[in-house]
């Protein structure tokens, strides 16, 4: 027997577990969906969310300033009456709205997401629609594509293939963990960054997948706000944590709400916030050169009592 065979035997490792393979596949899928890991990021406004009439912005002016600048939705945008709110003010107002929202409940946490890829160099694969229904015990079901597609089980409690709304960034949490997330913005930031496996990329060069802490945080918080069944106080803390970031810009009214851009060292995240409900409807990441990559649009994130068959 030669030394190479002996080495193979000496170093031989047991087969990887199914769980390890599932975790790995999942991480890949998060990357493929243009999560914050991906560096060739997404052209978000390219997806068709152009500027529209200044309707939704009205609501936020009322809630956040307490003034009565209730422009009629059909009236032309007011010019001199008030200066636009800063991105930070919008986030703080959303925190207040989120805090007051009644806690909802149901059997299945239903999330419907439309992913669009428009990356440079990719063939445009159009939109893909993923719906998941997740119980409190973590068991989940998934439907890909049209509403007539079959609803299939989404792996076991710990090995779902599709993001079932229980992810904060790339970290999968249980229902109980989501309920117990800190309701304080600083503690929430610490929790998210401490649990994120993306933190190992912090400090690495950008072309090696390097990220900043802010980018890890923004990825975690946007998924928390978009997709998880987090309680009102946690959602409020999440908005306040975003408001603490150095560069938050109000992009003005867009379809469905108001556009926000949060910048970090080599890129940005853009999101659409519905100020009336404090829901995040859409988010995307882009690099410093505004390179396009795709969007994720959350059409539903709500409790329901029925699982379609």
């Amino acid at each position: 027997m030669d030394e190479l065979k002996m080495l193979a035997t000496a170093l031989g490792s047991p087969e990887p577990s199914q769980e390890a393979a599932d975790r790995s596949r999942h991480r890949l899928q998060n990357t493929m969906r243009g999560g914050p890991v991906r560096k060739r990021r997404i052209g978000w406004l390219a997806g068709g969310l152009g500027l529209t009439a200044a309707t939704a912005a009205t609501a936020i002016l009322v809630t956040s300033t307490g003034t009565t600048t209730t422009a009629h939705p059909n009236s032309p945008p007011s010019t001199a009456a008030q200066s636009p709110l800063s991105g930070r003010q919008i986030l703080l107002a959303a925190a207040t709205t989120a805090e007051k929202a009644p806690a909802a409940s149901g059997i299945y946490w239903h999330v419907k997401t439309v992913y669009t890829k428009t990356s440079k160099g990719d063939t445009d694969t159009g939109a893909s629609v993923i719906e998941t229904w997740t119980r409190r015990d973590g068991r989940s079901w998934v439907r890909e594509g049209s509403p007539t597609s079959p609803v299939k089980e989404n792996g076991g409690p710990h090995s779902g293939t599709w993001n079932n709304g229980f992810f904060v960034g790339t970290t999968k949490l249980s229902f109980e963990q989501i309920q117990r997330l800190p309701a304080d913005p600083t503690a929430l930031k610490t929790y998210i960054t401490r649990h994120s496996d993306l933190m190992r990329l912090v400090g690495k060069p950008v072309d090696k997948g390097g990220m900043s802490v802010d980018e890890v945080l923004i990825g975690g918080i946007s998924s928390l706000l978009e997709m998880t069944p987090a309680p009102p106080a946690v959602r409020a803390a999440a908005f306040r944590a975003l408001a603490k970031l150095p560069e938050v810009k109000n992009l003005g009214p867009v379809k469905g709400g108001v556009g926000l851009q949060i910048s970090f060292h080599d890129g940005w995240s853009r999101m659409v916030l519905d100020p009336a409900t404090s829901r995040l409807l859409n988010s995307a990441f882009g690099d410093a050169d505004h390179n396009a990559s795709g969007t994720s649009k959350v059409d539903a994130a709500e409790w329901t009592n029925t699982l379609p068959r």
Binding site: K5, M6, L11, E15, A21, L28, K39, S128
Partner: protein
């Protein structure tokens, strides 16, 4: 493990698939996760190996436009990425071999008689062998382990590491000589 169902698509078909539709990149994962994991787990602890295996596919996906089927198969390309990721853990890799040399590794669970015999022989000589492995240069070790752990041909090693087949040959010869000396000496 994710089972391969039905007949296997060739690497070229897999590559063609993810070029048309990036979503099909998961098929690459399902085909190669096990192999990449076992390679990494030969060089590092299980947890780091899992991390490296997972990261390999994320990096590969991000760099998929750079994959050129004319320059080699998916397998060497993926192992090249994995080898680069292993290289970030030099100290950990050295500790892994040190620990193996000290305690003796558990032989891989396999009931084939020759494997059992092999593992007896290997277990006796293992400390010397693993120590010698740790003393090889990084380049020699990459070549040796791609061949020993993953049964790579010279051409595949050359593709994976981006070196010439001649360099593969000379590195392998040098490394084998050192390993032989360690177990015979």
């Amino acid at each position: 493990m994710t089972a391969d169902v039905g007949e296997q698509a060739s690497d070229a078909e897999l590559a063609d698939g993810f070029r048309r539709d990036p979503d099909r990149f998961t098929a690459v994962h399902d085909r190669y996760f096990r192999d990449i994991y076992l390679y990494a787990a030969g060089r590092l602890d299980a947890q780091t190996a899992e991390d490296i295996a997972a990261e390999t596919f994320c990096v590969a996906f991000r760099d998929r436009d750079r994959f050129d089927p004319r320059r080699g198969g998916l397998r060497p390309w993926l192992f090249g990425i994995a080898t680069n990721l292993v290289a970030r853990h030099r100290r950990k890799e050295a500790r892994h071999y040190k620990a193996l040399a000290r305690t003796g590794a558990e032989p891989a669970a396999d009931s084939h008689e020759n494997r059992v015999l092999a593992s007896v022989a290997a277990t006796a000589l293992q400390p010397q062998l693993v120590r010698a492995l740790a003393r090889l240069s990084q380049g020699e070790r990459d070549v040796v382990l791609l061949v020993a752990l993953s049964q790579f041909s010279y051409d595949e090693v050359a593709q994976a590491l981006g070196i010439s087949a001649g360099t593969v040959g000379s590195r392998l010869n040098r490394a084998r000589k050192k390993l032989k000396e360690a177990i015979n000496g």
